[in-house]
Amino acid sequence: MKAIETRDLTRRFGRIEAVNSLDLNVEEGVIYGFLGPNGAGKSTTINMLMGFVKPHGGTAKVLGHDIRTGHYEIRKLVGYLPERPPFYESMSGVANAKYFGRLIGVKDLDARVDALLKQVGLEGRGQDKVRGYSHGMRQRLGIAIALLGDPKLLIMDEPTTGLDPQGSHDIREIIRRLKDRHVTVFLSSHILHEVQEVSDVVGIIKGGRMLVEQPIDTFLKSTRGGATTFEFYAPGLDDAYADIAQKINGVESASVRDGRLYLAVAEPSVAEDVNAALVGAGLRVREIRETMPTLEDAFLKVVGERKEG
C-alpha cells in the first residue's frame, strides 16, 4: 500500500487549473520532498489530501483511503503541520495541544502532551500563552500537535521557513527520527538544501503537473548529464593546473575557482589520471571528492527557471 497515491488529480479555481492531472506516488516509510515554484499547486494538493478542498477530477488515496469518502479515517492516521501553524492565541501551548488531543482521542493525554513538548524542546514553556511564542516555538508546538495521534503519515507544509539554524536543525532531526520509526513524511518546502538533506524521494510540480518524481540520488545524477564531476583541493592550485587537467583524455571541462579545481569527466576513472598528472606536476593533492549537483541546481534546471549568465 502506498502512503499517498493520486491519479489525474485535478482542481480548478475559476479558469485556473491549480492542480492539473497530478500523479503522485509516495511509498510508505519514505521522506518525500514535494517541491515546486510559487503557485505550482503544492498547497492545493495538500488541501485536497487533507479534505479542505474538493477535487474536480481524478482519484487520490491516502493510506488506502479515498479522499472523497475516507476523510474521517485519513485524519485518524495523518498528522498535519500547516504553514505558519495557527493556534488559539489566548490559550497556552499545553491547552492548545490538549484541545486538539481530545479531538484526536489521544489516550493518557497529559503524559503524551508533556512527552511531545519535551521532544520538540518546549518543556518549561508549555504553560505560556501562545501569543507570546516566537516563530520557532510555534513551529515546534505545531509539530508536537501534528504528532499527537502517533500518525503513520506526517504532512508538513514549509516546516522550517523562518527558523534560525538551530531550529531548522532540530526539526530535521525530528524528521529523521520519524523515518527511523517508519513514519512517512510528506514535506513541502522552499528550502531546497534542507529537503536534499532529509528526503529520499522528490516530486517537483509546476503548473499543477508533476514534472519529476524520483529518488533524490537518481534525480541529481540525471540532471548533471553524462559527466561525473570531481572537486580537487591542493595548496597552490591555479589555472595552470586546470590547463594540465584539460589536456588529459576524458576530461570534459576543468576550471579553478576559490583555490579548488572542478572537473567534469566522462568516466570516474579519469579522475585518477588527473590526480597522477597533477602530482607529477609537483602538486600536493590533499582532497578529491566526487560532487553532486545541489538540489537547487537540479530544481532550477527542471523547472526552467535558471537564469543564463
Binding site: 479555481f13 488541501n47 487533507m50 479534505g51 479542505f52 478542498v53 474538493k54 474521517y72 479515517e73 485524519r75 485518524k76 495523518v78 498535519y80 500547516p82 505558519r84 501553524p85 495557527p86 493556534f87 488559539y88 492565541e89 489566548s90 484541545y99 486538539f100 481530545r102 479531538l103 484526536i104 482521542g105 500537535i145 495521534g149
Partner: protein, 281 residues
Amino acid sequence: MYDAQREIRNIGTIATKEFRDNVGSKRFIFIGFFYLLFAVVLSLVTGYVSKDTRPYMVLGMMESLNLIVALLAVIISADTLSLEKKDRTVYQLLSKPVERSSVVIGKYLGCLAVIATLFTACALLAYALTAVFSGTMPAPGDLIPFVGAILAENLMLAAYIAIGVLVSTVTKNPFISIMAAFLAWVVLFMTSTMGNIVGLFAAQESMLFYAGDTFDLYPVYAKAMIWVDPMSHGMVSQLLSGNTGTAIAGLPLWANVAFLLGYALLLLTAAVMLFKNQDIT
C-alpha cells in the same frame, strides 16, 4: 466510518471550548453586565410597584429586554466559525478526526450554553430580588410557570443563535459576519414591527366590530412579516398567565414551540450543509 460516540465527545469538547471562550470575552461581559443591571432594575420595579403579584412575574418584565439578549445571542455566535477561518485555526481543527457537522453543532451548543447561562442566572437573580422587594416568598406553585418561561425564552434565543451560526458559516471575515448578524437582527425586528403596523392599518375598519384577537384580522403577508422574527414567538406571557390557550402571534403555545424549534433546526441544518460542502482556502 461515522463513529457516533466519538462525535458526541467531539461536540462536547468543541462546545466546552466555545463556552469558555465566550464567557471570558469582552462583548459578553459588556452586554451581559447591562442585561444584569436591567434585570435588577426590573426586579426593583416589579417588587415595589406590584406588591401582590407572584415574584416569577418579573420574567414577563424581562421579556421586554429580549432585544438586548437576542442581540447578544446573534453577536456571540456570528463569528464562531468566521474567526476560525480568519485565524486559520480551522486548518488545525479540520485536520483532526472530527466531522464538520460536529464542529458546527459543537459551536452552536457552546454559544447556546453561554446565552442560556446568562439568561437563566439573571432570571434567577431577578426572581429572588423580586421576592425580597415584594415580600412575597417563592411557593411550590411558582416552579412550573417559572421553569416554563425560562425554557421558552431559551428556545427563542436558540433561534437567534442559529441565525448567527449560519451567518458565520458563509463568511470568512469576523467583522463582516458580526455586522451581517447585527443587520439580520435589525431587519427581523423592523420586519415584525412593520408587520404589526401594516396589519393594524389593514385591519383597522374590521377591528371595531371584532371581539377576538385582532391578529386574526391581519392579512397573511402581515402575519408572515411578524412570524419571521423569533422574538414574535416569545411565549413567556402565555406561560406566566397559566393559560396556554392564549394566542401569541396568532398561534397557540405548541405552535410557537414548534415554530421556534423548526426555525432553529432549519437554520442549523443549513449551516451544517454549507460548512460540510465548503472549500477551506
